[in-house]
């Protein structure tokens, strides 16, 4: 365990050092973050800007903004931690450099998941946290609800990681996976609004088929103390099940991997 923690520290140091070489990229990353938050805020701003509109799907403006905050935070998590690693899996399979990863005396899934970071997209995480703090400041929040929200958000991050890993693992059979993850980002765009803002059949899809409801709506509900017990219990169960399934899928993929040259 300590070995893995030490490795995370080494990986982080290496990738941060490599990224800071290109300082001009920072401007680009800030612009991209501004674009992201702009889209998220405009969508919700126009909705609430209509005369007579005080709630969307039963959520007040501040509450809905909380969901947007969690959405930005998750976008940041994906951009900083998940995507830089997962997008390299397909490349490694195609070029054969996956061989070296598999030969190393550490768990291969750990290696492909933690090797890279995109620190330049940290502003997304800061913006997300800022939005959450701003909207929570006007709502009644108890220490208990903060704890519940934190725990549920942790399982949300596991869910996001597992979906990405599952999609990226298909690279062992289909050489290109960029399109599939693009499709996930498209569906994930629905997470910028509370699930109850959607028509009923779509709500069902967003909760049980593509579980994006657990990523933003559920932690926000936990923070405002409006979460039902069923959803609170379902979130960690879904996360654990997804983790197990993707772990097995990954092992299966590695077992059937035959290198690029053989």
């Amino acid at each position: 365990m300590t070995r893995y923690l030490r490795l995370i520290r080494i990986f982080t140091g290496a990738t941060v050092a490599a990224q800071l070489e290109y300082r001009a990229n920072f401007v680009g990353a800030v612009l991209a973050s501004l674009g992201q938050v702009g889209v998220a805020l405009l969508g919700i701003g126009v909705l609430f800007g209509q005369p007579g509109t005080t709630s969307v799907g039963g959520w007040s403006f501040r509450e809905a903004l909380l969901v947007t905050g969690f959405y930005m935070l998750t976008e940041g998590f994906i951009a900083v931690f998940v995507q830089p690693n997962m997008s390299r899996i397909a490349e490694a399979v195609r070029t054969g450099s996956m061989d070296f990863t598999l030969l190393k005396p550490i768990d291969a899934q750990f290696n492909v998941s933690t090797r890279n970071l995109n620190v330049l997209r940290m502003p997304d995480i800061v913006i997300g946290l800022g939005l959450i703090l701003y909207s929570a400041s006007a709502l009644t929040v108890t220490p208990g609800s903060v704890l519940a929200a934190t725990l549920l958000y942790a399982s949300a991050l596991v869910i996001v990681y597992c979906i990405w890993l599952g999609l990226s693992t298909t690279a062992f059979w289909f050489v290109k996976t960029q399109n599939v993850t693009e499709l996930f980002s498209g569906v994930f765009g629905a997470a910028r609004f509370p699930t109850s803002a959607f028509p009923v059949p779509v709500r069902f899809l967003l909760t049980f088929v593509v579980p994006v409801a657990f990523v933003t709506t559920v932690p926000a509900q936990a923070l405002t103390g409006q979460l039902g017990v069923e959803l609170a219990l379902a979130s960690p169960v879904v996360a654990a099940a997804l983790f197990l399934v993707t772990r097995l899928f990954w092992r299966h993929a590695v077992a059937s991997y035959t290198s690029a040259s053989s």
Binding site: A24, A29, G43, V46, Q50, G57, A190, P199
Partner: protein, 249 residues
């Protein structure tokens, strides 16, 4: 392009913003007193946003990513030896992709319209008018995206500029809501930009909520912008080539 048919469908489905907004607005109208927001019933929202989705699909341009790659990797150099501006090759690539895109797109629209209750206008003249606006709008968008791609001669964050410009295009074009839903001052700025005429106006034509006169007016504004973007593109291209040659490529 025909080889990538499955990918084209996935690309189309990943442009979900207008579909997400459609679902939210439909639920919003259904829950509102009287069953409508600003005179839009759920079916009206479905029609507007599906039309926006169709128009946005036909306006898709990815040339700035290609140029960014070509300039950075030096792929551009051999292309410069040809007696034709690489601009035309990119343009034809985009145009031919439209023909592949249109068949699965119409199938998807039919399914979405059936599911959401959207109804497009019965007036035949709205369709050629919308198509005309889309053609001019696409040309204008292609030119500005091309110019952004050319910024790769000077900076390595040209694709992030593209994200910001896309945001303005989507917002003022009416991808979040019909333009009439925006605050007054935003509308006053928007009418001077090309965005409402290339995205929102064709969508309103297809939804039967815009007149032929408005279409003509929009076409004139778009043509003006087209001329501006043409000059800008050419100027940036010439300046960029001088810069590119200077580093010994």
């Amino acid at each position: 392009m025909a080889e990538y048919r499955a990918e084209v469908v996935i690309w189309m489905l990943s442009g979900t913003l207008s579909l997400v907004m459609m679902l939210v607005w439909m639920a919003q109208a259904a829950a509102a007193p009287g069953g409508m927001v600003r005179g839009y019933k759920p079916a009206d929202f479905a029609t507007y946003f599906l039309a926006t989705w169709v128009v946005a699909q036909l306006l898709v341009v990815w040339v700035s990513h290609e140029l960014d790659y070509e300039i950075r990797q030096g792929v551009l150099s051999p292309k410069l030896l040809r007696p034709l501006d690489p601009f035309w090759q990119h343009l034809l690539g985009h145009v031919s992709e439209r023909f592949i895109r249109i068949v699965p797109m119409l199938a998807l629209v039919a399914v979405f319209a059936w599911l959401s209750g959207a109804r497009f206008t019965p007036h035949w003249w709205a369709y050629p008018a919308a198509l005309g606006l889309i053609v001019v709008g696409f040309s204008a968008r292609f030119l500005w995206e091309y110019t952004i791609g050319l910024l790769a001669f000077w900076t390595d964050s040209s694709t992030s500029f593209q994200e910001i410009v896309w945001l303005v295009y989507a917002a003022l074009g009416g991808m979040f809501a019909p333009l009439a839903f925006y605050p007054e001052w935003v509308q006053r700025i928007a009418v001077w930009t090309p965005f409402p005429y290339m995205l929102g106006l064709p969508a309103q034509l297809l939804a039967g909520k815009a007149t032929l006169g408005q279409a003509g007016q929009g076409a004139l504004v778009l043509l003006g912008w087209l001329a501006v973007f043409w000059v800008v593109r050419l100027t940036v291209w010439r300046a960029g080539l001088r810069k590119y040659g200077a580093v010994g490529a």
